[in-house]
Symmetry: C2
Subunit: 403 residues, 2 copies
């Protein structure tokens, strides 16, 4: 008798760990935190222009944007970072109008070197300002049209390795170059990611937590097909968007048995979304898991003063806003914990700096890799978006005939 | 024999229409577009301060914020509008630091007059700047602590009618006062809403479209429990957030038969989210309906120039960005239309002005009312968020003992 088994099955943790280790030969993101940053830092130090504009979309912008959003209101960054990430003419015009083009560095990022949105904006930009090696940096795979262009105008070029996908590229030049130029300590950032990598593969606490979480999510994916992140910090709004891309594009796949997988990610911000989405979590269909993200120390001491207006709420007086938002998170968590079938977990980050955001992001990258392995999908491709691209290209080329 | 029937059933369109008509006796939002705006406009004309800050959360900020986001990059608004809508100390500090407090008008909005976030910010603000009738406006129900405070300091007061819920309040003073003060033509805005109201209740085209859409969503709610809005205009990002609140808080309910309802709303922006969430729509579980929103005329003519860099993509040259983004939307729609089980519809708004955004928002309010009636829920309450509020209040009052 022969017995052949190819159907969906839950694999052992050891099997998954082994697969993740082997996968590192072909999937490049795991080792990014260990790369040498000297060249990037030297380049960053040489930039005098006061504003930095990233031209890129999806994986080419969301990572740096998440970290910039996280840090910009708190840390003293030396330059402004702006993202041109859409073909919306109102967005392009209003952003370019706000710039002093002669004092701006442009970083154009496209892994393939042929991303329609990015190239369209670059082309338009070339009619507004002369692009040359003094104001343009190119980040792409090697031997792409964009790389060729960089060589032509002798612009600074940084490579995205072929085996690093866009949504996993934040710790490559894609994230590091823009962030370093505005003054982010990228070495400390990478330290946060390294710590998670080392602890996970040494089977420390991170290993048990991520394996258990991934296992729960996969085993219950048909019951809880929506995964919500509820961030109690407005500066995590960019991180929420990055998470949505990472999760949706990596896990929305047909698996080796031809079954459609799909865990739908949703990013919320507390306490704002207590006044919006929370009602649905509490009384709607029980199809959601919730991950709360809190900050242990906001490092901002602003206090609600005594004897201030609206005495009916005098119990707020004397409390700091850091304490208040923390209590709001805890009250929501407690309300949810009283319900029987809303699985939740809580992540607390120590403080608002580059080390902590990198820790959080690398943790999510690993989590997605584990879930993808459990689900027996290719976590790293995105075949579902190709058909729209082909249709667009055909439409554009057909149109071209009329010009 | 007696036959009693109380179980879930699909009602006739006539039954729904009749219910919506009768409901107007107790639900106030329907008639808001017909209110007199004289007092609001007179007040708005009297405001000299250059920045307007709204202190409010959820339904007290999302509506005005959606319309401001929609108009700000395109229309020549005469003042800046800023929202203090969270207890996050980093957010509060960075926004207040960016203001000239002596040239700022503060509009504090809370229907109950006791919203924790709003009152906490008001209290803190009172220690930074003297609040008086020259710089503070209050919007609330009558006879709330906030109303009492307005009377004490003789500040201008506008009423939110008791029978208008926060998430349906954008066409009341809650939305109109902030928008009028920064120069939005609120009468034209209300005209957009009025048109939808009149056409719907006169059973014009809007009636058939909304009834058909609501019926499809409700009949297929267990199969397609996620409703995605894919807006091909970055300025609709605020609208997306408003839609998420309207949909989640109105429809995430236990119905009269004790069954948990819950259609999960997701707001996307195209083409950005083509590089993120689209993969999940295409290859993930088929649990989503998609509504595309397009703009017929961006009124921005910026064109991708001839003979510009990256000749490999020369087929983009000569095309305007308005045309390009429209083609991107169409290509995505075509790709989705080729799939068998992704129900979608397309809404095209004429142009980016206050009339069109009001039309869109009032249409969604009606759609939610219809769906709620079909689902036999109370569309207008939010009992699920109360338990967290009670826990927070208890925690705060317990803490108070220590001060």
């Amino acid at each position: 008798m022969h017995y052949f088994k190819n159907f969906y099955q839950i694999r052992s943790n050891e099997y998954i760990l082994d697969k993740l280790k082997k996968e590192q030969e072909s999937i490049g993101y795991y080792k990014l935190p260990f790369n040498d940053t000297t060249e990037i830092k030297e380049f960053a130090d040489s930039v005098n222009r006061q504003t930095v504009v990233v031209i890129g979309i999806g994986g080419s912008s969301l990572g740096a944007s998440a970290i910039y959003d996280f840090l910009k209101r708190k840390n003293n960054l030396k330059k402004r970072l702006i993202f041109l990430e859409t073909t919306d003419p109102i967005d392009i015009n209003s952003k370019l109008d706000s710039l002093n083009l002669d004092d701006t560095l442009f970083i154009v990022i496209s892994k393939s070197g042929t991303t329609v949105e990015t190239i369209a904006i670059l082309k338009y930009l070339s009619s507004k300002v002369e692009l040359n090696k003094s104001n343009l940096v190119v980040i792409s795979e090697t031997n792409t049209p964009l790389h060729k262009y960089a060589k032509e105008i002798e612009a600074k070029f940084f490579e995205v390795p072929k085996n690093v996908g866009g949504r996993f590229s934040v710790f490559s030049a894609v994230g590091l170059v823009p962030l370093a130029t505005i003054g982010v300590d990228i070495d400390n950032m990478l330290n946060g990611a390294k710590k998670v990598y080392n602890n996970f593969f040494k089977k420390q606490k991170e290993y048990d937590i991520l394996m258990e979480k991934a296992r729960f999510i996969v085993e219950n994916k048909n019951r809880f097909n929506i995964n919500v992140i509820f961030s109690y910090l407005s500066a995590l709004e960019g991180f929420n968007k990055w998470y949505v891309q990472l999760w949706a594009e990596s896990l929305g796949k047909i698996n080796i048995n031809g079954t459609r997988q799909g865990l739908t990610p949703i990013g919320l911000v507390g306490p704002i979304d207590q006044h919006s989405f929370l009602q649905l979590i509490m009384e709607g269909k029980r199809d959601k898991t919730v991950t709360f993200i809190k900050v242990a120390d906001f490092e901002e001491k602003i206090v609600i003063p005594k004897n201030s207006p609206i005495s009916e709420l005098d119990y707020l007086e004397g409390i700091s806003f850091s304490k208040l938002i923390d209590m709001q998170a805890d009250a929501t968590i407690e309300a949810i914990s009283k319900e029987e079938d809303i699985p939740y977990d809580v992540i607390t980050i120590d403080k608002v700096d580059e080390y902590n955001i990198a820790e959080l992001m690398f943790t999510y990258e690993l989590l997605v890799s584990i879930i993808g392995t459990f689900m027996q999908i290719n976590t790293y491709d995105q075949p579902g978006v190709e058909s729209g691209k082909i249709i667009l290209k055909e439409k554009l080329k057909a149109l071209k005939w009329y010009f």
